[in-house]
Protein backbone atom coordinates (compact mmCIF):
# COMPACT_ATOMS: atom_id res chain seq x y z
CA UNK A 1 0.00 0.00 0.00
CA UNK A 2 3.01 2.34 -0.03
CA UNK A 3 2.83 4.99 -2.76
CA UNK A 4 5.63 4.53 -5.25
CA UNK A 5 7.04 7.99 -4.58
CA UNK A 6 8.00 6.92 -1.06
CA UNK A 7 9.94 3.97 -2.23
CA UNK A 8 12.03 5.81 -4.75
CA UNK A 9 13.86 8.70 -3.14
CA UNK A 10 14.78 10.31 -6.45
CA UNK A 11 11.11 11.00 -7.11
CA UNK A 12 10.49 12.85 -3.86
CA UNK A 13 9.60 16.49 -3.91
CA UNK A 14 9.01 18.82 -1.00
CA UNK A 15 5.32 17.93 -0.81
CA UNK A 16 5.74 14.18 -0.73
CA UNK A 17 8.64 14.55 1.67
CA UNK A 18 6.46 16.62 4.00
CA UNK A 19 3.80 13.91 3.95
CA UNK A 20 6.45 11.38 4.90
CA UNK A 21 7.73 13.68 7.62
CA UNK A 22 4.29 14.31 9.10
CA UNK A 23 3.58 10.62 9.17
CA UNK A 24 6.75 9.42 10.84
CA UNK A 25 8.61 12.26 12.58
CA UNK A 26 6.84 11.80 15.91
CA UNK A 27 7.35 8.04 15.89
CA UNK A 28 11.03 8.32 14.97
CA UNK A 29 11.63 10.91 17.70
CA UNK A 30 9.96 8.73 20.31
CA UNK A 31 11.93 5.72 19.21
CA UNK A 32 15.16 7.71 19.47
CA UNK A 33 14.13 8.68 22.99
CA UNK A 34 13.70 5.02 23.87
CA UNK A 35 17.40 4.63 23.10
CA UNK A 36 18.92 7.86 24.32
CA UNK A 37 16.71 8.77 27.26
CA UNK A 38 17.24 12.41 26.38
CA UNK A 39 14.34 14.34 24.89
CA UNK A 40 16.40 17.01 23.18
CA UNK A 41 18.95 14.61 21.81
CA UNK A 42 16.18 12.31 20.54
CA UNK A 43 14.58 15.05 18.51
CA UNK A 44 17.96 16.26 17.27
CA UNK A 45 18.78 12.80 15.99
CA UNK A 46 15.37 12.50 14.34
CA UNK A 47 15.66 15.93 12.70
CA UNK A 48 19.15 15.13 11.48
CA UNK A 49 17.90 11.86 10.05
CA UNK A 50 15.19 13.59 8.02
CA UNK A 51 17.63 16.25 6.80
CA UNK A 52 20.05 13.62 5.55
CA UNK A 53 17.18 11.67 4.05
CA UNK A 54 16.27 14.69 1.94
CA UNK A 55 19.84 15.46 0.93
CA UNK A 56 20.59 11.92 -0.13
CA UNK A 57 17.19 11.22 -1.62
CA UNK A 58 18.65 10.60 -5.07
CA UNK A 59 20.43 7.49 -3.81
CA UNK A 60 17.61 6.10 -1.71
CA UNK A 61 15.69 3.03 -2.78
CA UNK A 62 13.48 1.48 -0.17
CA UNK A 63 12.68 -2.10 -1.03
CA UNK A 64 10.87 -3.10 2.16
CA UNK A 65 8.71 -0.39 3.67
CA UNK A 66 9.46 3.14 4.64
CA UNK A 67 8.48 2.82 8.30
CA UNK A 68 10.94 -0.02 8.81
CA UNK A 69 13.59 1.84 6.83
CA UNK A 70 13.27 4.93 9.03
CA UNK A 71 13.30 2.99 12.28
CA UNK A 72 16.38 1.03 11.25
CA UNK A 73 18.13 4.28 10.33
CA UNK A 74 17.11 5.86 13.66
CA UNK A 75 18.35 2.84 15.53
CA UNK A 76 21.75 2.96 13.84
CA UNK A 77 22.14 6.66 14.60
CA UNK A 78 21.19 6.23 18.26
CA UNK A 79 23.66 3.39 18.63
CA UNK A 80 26.36 5.66 17.25
CA UNK A 81 25.47 8.38 19.76
CA UNK A 82 25.35 5.92 22.60
CA UNK A 83 28.90 4.81 21.89
CA UNK A 84 30.02 8.39 22.35
CA UNK A 85 28.48 8.96 25.76
CA UNK A 86 26.88 6.46 28.12
CA UNK A 87 23.46 7.70 29.11
CA UNK A 88 22.11 4.95 31.32
CA UNK A 89 22.15 7.18 34.41
CA UNK A 90 20.25 10.04 32.85
CA UNK A 91 17.30 7.82 32.06
CA UNK A 92 16.33 7.44 35.69
CA UNK A 93 16.92 11.11 36.48
CA UNK A 94 14.94 12.30 33.53
CA UNK A 95 11.94 10.29 34.57
CA UNK A 96 11.79 12.12 37.89
CA UNK A 97 11.35 15.45 36.20
CA UNK A 98 8.09 14.48 34.57
CA UNK A 99 5.43 16.76 35.95
CA UNK A 100 2.86 15.30 38.27
CA UNK A 101 -0.72 16.50 38.26
CA UNK A 102 -1.43 15.38 41.78
CA UNK A 103 -1.34 17.27 45.03
CA UNK A 104 2.01 18.36 46.51
CA UNK A 105 1.97 15.68 49.26
CA UNK A 106 1.58 12.83 46.84
CA UNK A 107 4.11 14.44 44.54
CA UNK A 108 7.02 13.58 46.80
CA UNK A 109 6.08 9.99 47.43
CA UNK A 110 5.18 9.51 43.81
CA UNK A 111 8.64 10.63 42.85
CA UNK A 112 10.09 7.79 44.86
CA UNK A 113 7.71 5.18 43.57
CA UNK A 114 8.16 6.37 40.01
CA UNK A 115 11.87 5.85 40.35
CA UNK A 116 11.21 2.37 41.71
CA UNK A 117 8.88 1.55 38.87
CA UNK A 118 11.34 2.85 36.36
CA UNK A 119 14.07 0.75 37.88
CA UNK A 120 11.84 -2.20 37.23
CA UNK A 121 11.97 -1.90 33.45
CA UNK A 122 15.69 -1.20 33.54
CA UNK A 123 16.23 -4.65 34.97
CA UNK A 124 15.17 -6.27 31.74
CA UNK A 125 17.80 -7.18 29.19
CA UNK A 126 18.17 -4.68 26.30
CA UNK A 127 16.34 -6.83 23.75
CA UNK A 128 13.25 -7.26 25.91
CA UNK A 129 13.33 -3.61 26.86
CA UNK A 130 13.46 -2.52 23.24
CA UNK A 131 10.62 -4.83 22.26
CA UNK A 132 8.51 -3.43 25.09
CA UNK A 133 9.31 0.13 24.04
CA UNK A 134 8.37 -0.62 20.43
CA UNK A 135 5.19 -2.28 21.59
CA UNK A 136 4.35 0.79 23.69
CA UNK A 137 4.95 2.95 20.61
CA UNK A 138 2.15 1.02 18.95
CA UNK A 139 4.06 -1.22 16.56
CA UNK A 140 2.67 -4.64 15.78
CA UNK A 141 4.56 -7.83 16.58
CA UNK A 142 5.15 -8.33 12.87
CA UNK A 143 6.69 -4.88 12.48
CA UNK A 144 8.92 -5.40 15.50
CA UNK A 145 10.01 -8.79 14.19
CA UNK A 146 10.91 -7.24 10.84
CA UNK A 147 12.87 -4.47 12.49
CA UNK A 148 14.87 -6.73 14.78
CA UNK A 149 15.33 -9.54 12.25
CA UNK A 150 13.59 -12.17 14.34
CA UNK A 151 10.36 -14.09 13.86
CA UNK A 152 7.02 -12.70 15.15
CA UNK A 153 6.80 -15.80 17.35
CA UNK A 154 10.07 -14.82 18.99
CA UNK A 155 8.75 -11.31 19.67
CA UNK A 156 5.68 -12.71 21.34
CA UNK A 157 7.80 -15.09 23.37
CA UNK A 158 10.09 -12.26 24.49
CA UNK A 159 7.12 -10.14 25.55
CA UNK A 160 5.57 -12.92 27.58
CA UNK A 161 8.91 -13.74 29.15
CA UNK A 162 9.46 -10.08 29.96
CA UNK A 163 6.26 -9.99 31.98
CA UNK A 164 7.22 -13.14 33.84
CA UNK A 165 10.70 -11.74 34.52
CA UNK A 166 9.16 -8.54 35.83
CA UNK A 167 6.94 -10.49 38.18
CA UNK A 168 9.98 -12.33 39.53
CA UNK A 169 11.97 -9.13 39.76
CA UNK A 170 9.42 -7.48 41.98
CA UNK A 171 9.63 -10.41 44.35
CA UNK A 172 13.36 -9.90 44.77
CA UNK A 173 13.22 -6.14 44.83
CA UNK A 174 12.10 -6.19 48.47
CA UNK A 175 9.93 -3.18 48.30
CA UNK A 176 9.45 -1.33 51.53
CA UNK A 177 6.01 -1.22 53.06
CA UNK A 178 5.67 2.37 51.95
CA UNK A 179 6.49 1.52 48.38
CA UNK A 180 3.82 -1.14 48.43
CA UNK A 181 1.22 1.35 49.52
CA UNK A 182 2.14 3.74 46.74
CA UNK A 183 2.13 0.96 44.21
CA UNK A 184 -1.36 0.12 45.35
CA UNK A 185 -2.41 3.73 44.99
CA UNK A 186 -1.11 4.04 41.48
CA UNK A 187 -2.52 0.69 40.58
CA UNK A 188 -5.98 1.67 41.71
CA UNK A 189 -5.64 5.04 39.99
CA UNK A 190 -4.78 3.31 36.74
CA UNK A 191 -7.68 0.97 37.24
CA UNK A 192 -10.02 3.92 37.46
CA UNK A 193 -8.82 5.63 34.29
CA UNK A 194 -9.93 3.19 31.58
CA UNK A 195 -13.30 2.50 33.21
Amino acid sequence: MQPVSELNGAEWNQQTFKVLYDEYYVLVSRYCYAFTGDYELARDIAAELFCDLWRQRANIRVNTNIKNYLLVAARRRCKKHKEKLPLTVTIANDQLESISHHTPDTHMVQKESKAALQQLLLRLDPVKKEIIDLKLLGLTNKEIAHLLHVTPKKVEYQLNTAIRVLQDEIKTMQLTAQDCEIGLMIGSLLLLIPS
Binding site: V26, S29, L117, I163
Partner: protein, 325 residues
Amino acid sequence: MNANILFRYIHELSDAAEREMVVAWLQESEKNRDILAALAQRKLSLEKAADKDNAASDWLKIQTAIQEAPVKKMFPWKRYSAAAAIAALLCTAAWYSTHRPAPVTPHLVKLATTARDKKRITLPDSTEVWLQYNSSLTYDAATFHNSERCVTLQGTAFFNVTSNAAKPFRVQTPHTAITVLGTSFHINARENAPQEIAVATGKINVTAEQLNINLLPEQKITYDPVTHKTTTSHISLHQVTGLRDNKLVFENDDLPGIAAKLEQWYNRKIIIRGTPQRVSFTGSVEDNGIHAVLGGLSFLAGIQYQVTADSVILSLHSNSLRNNK
Protein backbone atom coordinates in the same frame (compact mmCIF):
# COMPACT_ATOMS: atom_id res chain seq x y z
CA MET B 1 -0.98 -13.17 31.39
CA ASN B 2 -0.73 -12.91 27.64
CA ALA B 3 1.45 -9.94 26.71
CA ASN B 4 -0.63 -9.10 23.64
CA ILE B 5 -3.76 -8.70 25.71
CA LEU B 6 -1.92 -6.55 28.23
CA PHE B 7 -0.54 -4.23 25.54
CA ARG B 8 -3.90 -3.99 23.85
CA TYR B 9 -5.24 -2.89 27.23
CA ILE B 10 -2.54 -0.24 27.54
CA HIS B 11 -3.35 1.08 24.07
CA GLU B 12 -7.05 1.03 24.99
CA LEU B 13 -7.85 -1.38 22.19
CA SER B 14 -9.16 -4.31 24.16
CA ASP B 15 -12.70 -5.54 24.00
CA ALA B 16 -14.86 -6.19 27.05
CA ALA B 17 -13.71 -9.78 27.55
CA GLU B 18 -10.05 -8.84 27.34
CA ARG B 19 -10.57 -5.92 29.71
CA GLU B 20 -12.12 -8.26 32.22
CA MET B 21 -9.12 -10.58 31.96
CA VAL B 22 -6.70 -7.73 32.61
CA VAL B 23 -8.68 -6.41 35.55
CA ALA B 24 -8.76 -9.89 37.08
CA TRP B 25 -5.02 -10.18 36.54
CA LEU B 26 -4.46 -6.82 38.20
CA GLN B 27 -6.52 -7.81 41.21
CA GLU B 28 -4.58 -11.03 41.48
CA SER B 29 -1.51 -9.40 42.94
CA GLU B 30 0.26 -6.24 43.85
CA LYS B 31 3.18 -6.85 41.53
CA ASN B 32 0.92 -7.13 38.50
CA ARG B 33 -0.33 -3.64 39.22
CA ASP B 34 3.26 -2.46 39.46
CA ILE B 35 4.05 -3.93 36.06
CA LEU B 36 1.11 -2.18 34.45
CA ALA B 37 2.01 1.08 36.21
CA ALA B 38 5.62 0.82 35.04
CA LEU B 39 4.54 0.13 31.46
CA ALA B 40 1.98 2.93 31.42
CA GLN B 41 4.54 5.31 32.83
CA ARG B 42 7.10 4.28 30.24
CA LYS B 43 4.52 4.85 27.50
CA LEU B 44 3.86 8.35 28.77
CA SER B 45 7.51 9.27 28.88
CA LEU B 46 8.08 7.88 25.39
CA GLU B 47 5.18 9.91 24.10
CA LYS B 48 6.54 13.02 25.75
CA ALA B 49 9.51 12.81 23.37
CA ALA B 50 7.57 14.41 20.53
CA ASP B 51 4.08 15.35 19.42
CA LYS B 52 2.43 17.06 16.47
CA ASP B 53 3.43 20.54 17.70
CA ASN B 54 7.08 19.52 17.98
CA ALA B 55 6.89 18.05 14.52
CA ALA B 56 5.56 21.35 13.16
CA SER B 57 8.21 23.48 14.86
CA ASP B 58 11.03 21.08 13.95
CA TRP B 59 9.87 21.10 10.34
CA LEU B 60 10.78 24.79 10.10
CA LYS B 61 14.29 24.01 11.33
CA ILE B 62 14.63 21.13 8.90
CA GLN B 63 13.37 23.24 6.03
CA THR B 64 15.99 25.92 6.62
CA ALA B 65 18.68 23.28 7.04
CA ILE B 66 17.66 21.71 3.74
CA GLN B 67 17.75 25.01 1.93
CA GLU B 68 21.11 25.94 3.43
CA ALA B 69 22.65 22.72 2.19
CA PRO B 70 24.03 24.04 -1.11
CA VAL B 71 25.38 27.16 0.66
CA LYS B 72 27.40 25.02 3.03
CA LYS B 73 29.31 23.54 0.13
CA MET B 74 30.60 27.01 -0.71
CA PHE B 75 32.11 27.74 2.68
CA PRO B 76 35.60 26.48 1.80
CA TRP B 77 35.83 29.34 -0.70
CA LYS B 78 35.87 31.80 2.16
CA ARG B 79 39.21 30.49 3.24
CA TYR B 80 40.88 31.58 0.01
CA SER B 81 42.52 34.94 -0.15
CA ALA B 82 40.86 37.93 -1.77
CA ALA B 83 43.18 37.61 -4.76
CA ALA B 84 42.09 34.07 -5.39
CA ALA B 85 38.50 35.19 -5.11
CA ILE B 86 39.06 37.94 -7.68
CA ALA B 87 40.81 35.48 -9.96
CA ALA B 88 37.86 33.18 -9.64
CA LEU B 89 35.52 36.05 -10.43
CA LEU B 90 37.53 36.93 -13.53
CA CYS B 91 37.44 33.32 -14.65
CA THR B 92 33.69 33.25 -14.17
CA ALA B 93 33.34 36.52 -16.07
CA ALA B 94 35.41 35.12 -18.93
CA TRP B 95 33.32 31.98 -18.90
CA TYR B 96 30.13 34.02 -18.93
CA SER B 97 31.31 36.03 -21.94
CA THR B 98 31.89 32.89 -23.98
CA HIS B 99 29.03 30.78 -22.69
CA ARG B 100 25.47 31.81 -22.17
CA PRO B 101 24.57 32.40 -18.51
CA ALA B 102 23.92 29.26 -16.55
CA PRO B 103 20.18 28.71 -16.16
CA VAL B 104 18.61 28.88 -12.73
CA THR B 105 18.59 25.37 -11.31
CA PRO B 106 15.06 24.13 -11.95
CA HIS B 107 13.10 23.14 -8.90
CA LEU B 108 10.37 20.95 -10.28
CA VAL B 109 7.31 20.39 -8.14
CA LYS B 110 5.21 17.42 -9.19
CA LEU B 111 1.77 16.79 -7.79
CA ALA B 112 0.10 13.57 -8.78
CA THR B 113 -3.05 11.67 -7.97
CA THR B 114 -3.71 7.94 -8.08
CA ALA B 115 -6.80 6.04 -9.16
CA ARG B 116 -8.18 6.51 -5.65
CA ASP B 117 -7.63 10.13 -4.79
CA LYS B 118 -8.20 13.61 -6.12
CA LYS B 119 -6.38 16.73 -5.03
CA ARG B 120 -7.13 20.38 -4.64
CA ILE B 121 -3.97 22.40 -5.12
CA THR B 122 -3.22 26.06 -4.58
CA LEU B 123 -0.31 27.28 -6.69
CA PRO B 124 2.14 29.99 -5.51
CA ASP B 125 0.10 32.68 -7.34
CA SER B 126 -3.03 31.44 -5.48
CA THR B 127 -4.44 29.83 -8.61
CA GLU B 128 -6.58 26.87 -7.61
CA VAL B 129 -6.38 23.51 -9.36
CA TRP B 130 -8.71 20.57 -8.89
CA LEU B 131 -6.74 17.54 -10.00
CA GLN B 132 -8.80 14.52 -11.04
CA TYR B 133 -7.91 10.82 -10.61
CA ASN B 134 -4.73 9.53 -12.27
CA SER B 135 -3.48 12.96 -13.20
CA SER B 136 -0.33 14.92 -12.59
CA LEU B 137 0.60 18.57 -12.54
CA THR B 138 4.20 19.75 -12.77
CA TYR B 139 5.66 23.21 -12.47
CA ASP B 140 9.04 24.75 -11.91
CA ALA B 141 8.94 26.62 -8.60
CA ALA B 142 12.17 28.45 -9.49
CA THR B 143 10.77 30.18 -12.59
CA PHE B 144 7.05 30.18 -11.80
CA HIS B 145 7.08 33.85 -10.82
CA ASN B 146 8.87 34.94 -14.01
CA SER B 147 7.15 36.53 -16.99
CA GLU B 148 4.93 33.49 -17.58
CA ARG B 149 3.25 31.13 -15.16
CA CYS B 150 3.86 27.72 -16.72
CA VAL B 151 2.45 24.38 -15.61
CA THR B 152 2.36 20.99 -17.30
CA LEU B 153 -0.73 18.81 -17.05
CA GLN B 154 -1.23 15.12 -17.75
CA GLY B 155 -4.79 14.05 -17.20
CA THR B 156 -7.86 15.94 -16.13
CA ALA B 157 -8.12 19.11 -14.08
CA PHE B 158 -10.18 22.22 -13.47
CA PHE B 159 -8.29 25.49 -13.17
CA ASN B 160 -9.39 28.67 -11.46
CA VAL B 161 -6.62 31.04 -12.50
CA THR B 162 -5.86 34.14 -10.47
CA SER B 163 -6.01 37.17 -12.72
CA ASN B 164 -2.67 38.76 -13.59
CA ALA B 165 -2.57 40.48 -16.98
CA ALA B 166 1.22 40.94 -16.81
CA LYS B 167 1.91 37.25 -16.36
CA PRO B 168 -0.07 34.95 -18.63
CA PHE B 169 -0.88 31.54 -17.25
CA ARG B 170 0.10 28.71 -19.59
CA VAL B 171 -0.91 25.06 -19.35
CA GLN B 172 1.11 22.63 -21.42
CA THR B 173 -0.54 19.28 -22.10
CA PRO B 174 0.89 16.45 -24.20
CA HIS B 175 -0.84 17.73 -27.33
CA THR B 176 -2.03 21.28 -26.70
CA ALA B 177 -1.05 24.54 -25.05
CA ILE B 178 -3.57 26.76 -23.32
CA THR B 179 -2.85 30.39 -22.51
CA VAL B 180 -5.07 32.47 -20.25
CA LEU B 181 -4.91 35.64 -18.21
CA GLY B 182 -7.41 34.95 -15.46
CA THR B 183 -10.25 32.52 -15.99
CA SER B 184 -11.61 29.19 -14.95
CA PHE B 185 -11.69 26.24 -17.29
CA HIS B 186 -11.66 22.47 -17.52
CA ILE B 187 -9.04 20.38 -19.30
CA ASN B 188 -9.15 16.71 -20.12
CA ALA B 189 -5.81 15.77 -21.63
CA ARG B 190 -5.03 12.10 -21.51
CA GLU B 191 -2.67 10.26 -23.81
CA ASN B 192 -4.36 8.41 -26.67
CA ALA B 193 -7.69 10.14 -26.23
CA PRO B 194 -9.34 13.22 -27.71
CA GLN B 195 -8.33 16.33 -25.80
CA GLU B 196 -11.21 18.31 -24.32
CA ILE B 197 -11.10 21.87 -23.08
CA ALA B 198 -14.12 23.76 -21.78
CA VAL B 199 -14.43 27.28 -20.38
CA ALA B 200 -16.45 28.36 -17.35
CA THR B 201 -15.52 32.05 -17.15
CA GLY B 202 -13.27 34.40 -19.12
CA LYS B 203 -11.50 33.74 -22.38
CA ILE B 204 -8.77 31.27 -23.20
CA ASN B 205 -6.50 30.59 -26.13
CA VAL B 206 -5.82 27.04 -27.24
CA THR B 207 -2.99 26.16 -29.57
CA ALA B 208 -1.93 22.82 -30.97
CA GLU B 209 -0.66 21.47 -34.23
CA GLN B 210 -2.94 22.99 -36.94
CA LEU B 211 -5.00 24.78 -34.30
CA ASN B 212 -5.16 28.23 -32.79
CA ILE B 213 -8.51 29.15 -31.36
CA ASN B 214 -10.05 31.42 -28.73
CA LEU B 215 -12.75 29.96 -26.55
CA LEU B 216 -15.49 31.81 -24.68
CA PRO B 217 -17.52 30.75 -21.64
CA GLU B 218 -19.69 27.66 -22.04
CA GLN B 219 -17.79 26.65 -25.15
CA LYS B 220 -16.05 23.33 -25.44
CA ILE B 221 -13.47 22.13 -27.91
CA THR B 222 -12.61 18.54 -28.71
CA TYR B 223 -9.32 17.99 -30.47
CA ASP B 224 -8.07 14.72 -31.86
CA PRO B 225 -4.27 14.72 -31.71
CA VAL B 226 -3.99 12.06 -34.44
CA THR B 227 -6.35 13.37 -37.11
CA HIS B 228 -6.10 17.03 -35.95
CA LYS B 229 -9.88 17.16 -36.22
CA THR B 230 -11.50 19.75 -33.97
CA THR B 231 -15.11 20.27 -33.01
CA THR B 232 -16.48 23.09 -30.93
CA SER B 233 -19.75 22.73 -29.12
CA HIS B 234 -21.87 24.36 -26.47
CA ILE B 235 -21.66 23.05 -22.93
CA SER B 236 -23.68 24.12 -19.91
CA LEU B 237 -21.88 25.90 -17.09
CA HIS B 238 -22.48 23.29 -14.44
CA GLN B 239 -21.07 20.61 -16.71
CA VAL B 240 -17.82 22.58 -16.90
CA THR B 241 -17.58 23.18 -13.18
CA GLY B 242 -18.63 19.63 -12.29
CA LEU B 243 -15.08 18.71 -11.45
CA ARG B 244 -14.67 21.67 -9.13
CA ASP B 245 -18.00 20.95 -7.42
CA ASN B 246 -17.14 17.25 -7.21
CA LYS B 247 -20.26 16.36 -9.19
CA LEU B 248 -20.81 14.16 -12.18
CA VAL B 249 -23.32 15.96 -14.36
CA PHE B 250 -25.53 14.11 -16.83
CA GLU B 251 -27.85 15.76 -19.34
CA ASN B 252 -30.15 13.54 -21.36
CA ASP B 253 -27.42 10.95 -21.46
CA ASP B 254 -28.04 7.43 -22.68
CA LEU B 255 -26.07 4.46 -21.44
CA PRO B 256 -23.05 4.98 -23.76
CA GLY B 257 -23.06 8.65 -22.76
CA ILE B 258 -23.08 7.81 -19.07
CA ALA B 259 -20.33 5.24 -19.63
CA ALA B 260 -18.20 7.77 -21.52
CA LYS B 261 -18.53 10.29 -18.70
CA LEU B 262 -17.71 7.71 -16.03
CA GLU B 263 -14.77 6.49 -18.08
CA GLN B 264 -13.39 10.02 -18.30
CA TRP B 265 -14.12 10.87 -14.69
CA TYR B 266 -12.50 7.80 -13.13
CA ASN B 267 -10.06 7.10 -15.95
CA ARG B 268 -11.19 3.49 -15.98
CA LYS B 269 -12.43 1.27 -18.74
CA ILE B 270 -16.20 0.94 -18.79
CA ILE B 271 -17.78 -1.99 -20.55
CA ILE B 272 -21.45 -2.09 -21.50
CA ARG B 273 -23.04 -5.53 -21.42
CA GLY B 274 -25.82 -6.29 -23.83
CA THR B 275 -27.48 -3.93 -26.30
CA PRO B 276 -27.74 -0.38 -25.02
CA GLN B 277 -31.35 0.44 -24.24
CA ARG B 278 -33.12 3.71 -24.68
CA VAL B 279 -32.48 5.22 -21.28
CA SER B 280 -32.06 8.90 -20.78
CA PHE B 281 -30.77 10.35 -17.57
CA THR B 282 -30.49 13.93 -16.42
CA GLY B 283 -29.08 14.87 -13.04
CA SER B 284 -25.94 15.17 -11.04
CA VAL B 285 -24.29 12.73 -8.67
CA GLU B 286 -21.79 13.74 -6.02
CA ASP B 287 -18.54 11.78 -6.22
CA ASN B 288 -18.13 9.93 -2.93
CA GLY B 289 -16.12 7.13 -4.47
CA ILE B 290 -16.90 4.97 -7.48
CA HIS B 291 -19.06 2.54 -5.53
CA ALA B 292 -21.26 5.25 -4.06
CA VAL B 293 -21.69 6.87 -7.48
CA LEU B 294 -22.49 3.62 -9.26
CA GLY B 295 -24.83 2.71 -6.44
CA GLY B 296 -26.65 6.01 -6.87
CA LEU B 297 -26.77 5.68 -10.64
CA SER B 298 -27.99 2.14 -10.53
CA PHE B 299 -30.87 3.36 -8.41
CA LEU B 300 -31.62 6.51 -10.41
CA ALA B 301 -31.08 5.33 -13.96
CA GLY B 302 -31.83 1.65 -13.55
CA ILE B 303 -28.32 0.36 -14.19
CA GLN B 304 -26.63 -2.68 -12.79
CA TYR B 305 -22.90 -2.48 -12.22
CA GLN B 306 -19.94 -4.66 -11.41
CA VAL B 307 -16.47 -3.32 -10.57
CA THR B 308 -13.41 -5.38 -11.44
CA ALA B 309 -9.75 -4.57 -10.90
CA ASP B 310 -9.34 -2.31 -13.93
CA SER B 311 -12.78 -1.92 -15.44
CA VAL B 312 -16.44 -1.42 -14.66
CA ILE B 313 -19.21 -3.40 -16.30
CA LEU B 314 -22.55 -1.68 -16.75
CA SER B 315 -25.81 -3.38 -17.70
CA LEU B 316 -29.46 -2.53 -17.46
CA HIS B 317 -31.63 -3.92 -14.69
CA SER B 318 -33.42 -7.01 -15.86
CA ASN B 319 -36.79 -5.48 -15.00
CA SER B 320 -36.14 -2.27 -16.93
CA LEU B 321 -35.01 -4.43 -19.85
CA ARG B 322 -38.40 -6.04 -19.79
CA ASN B 323 -40.11 -2.66 -19.60
CA ASN B 324 -38.30 -1.40 -22.65
CA LYS B 325 -39.19 -4.44 -24.67
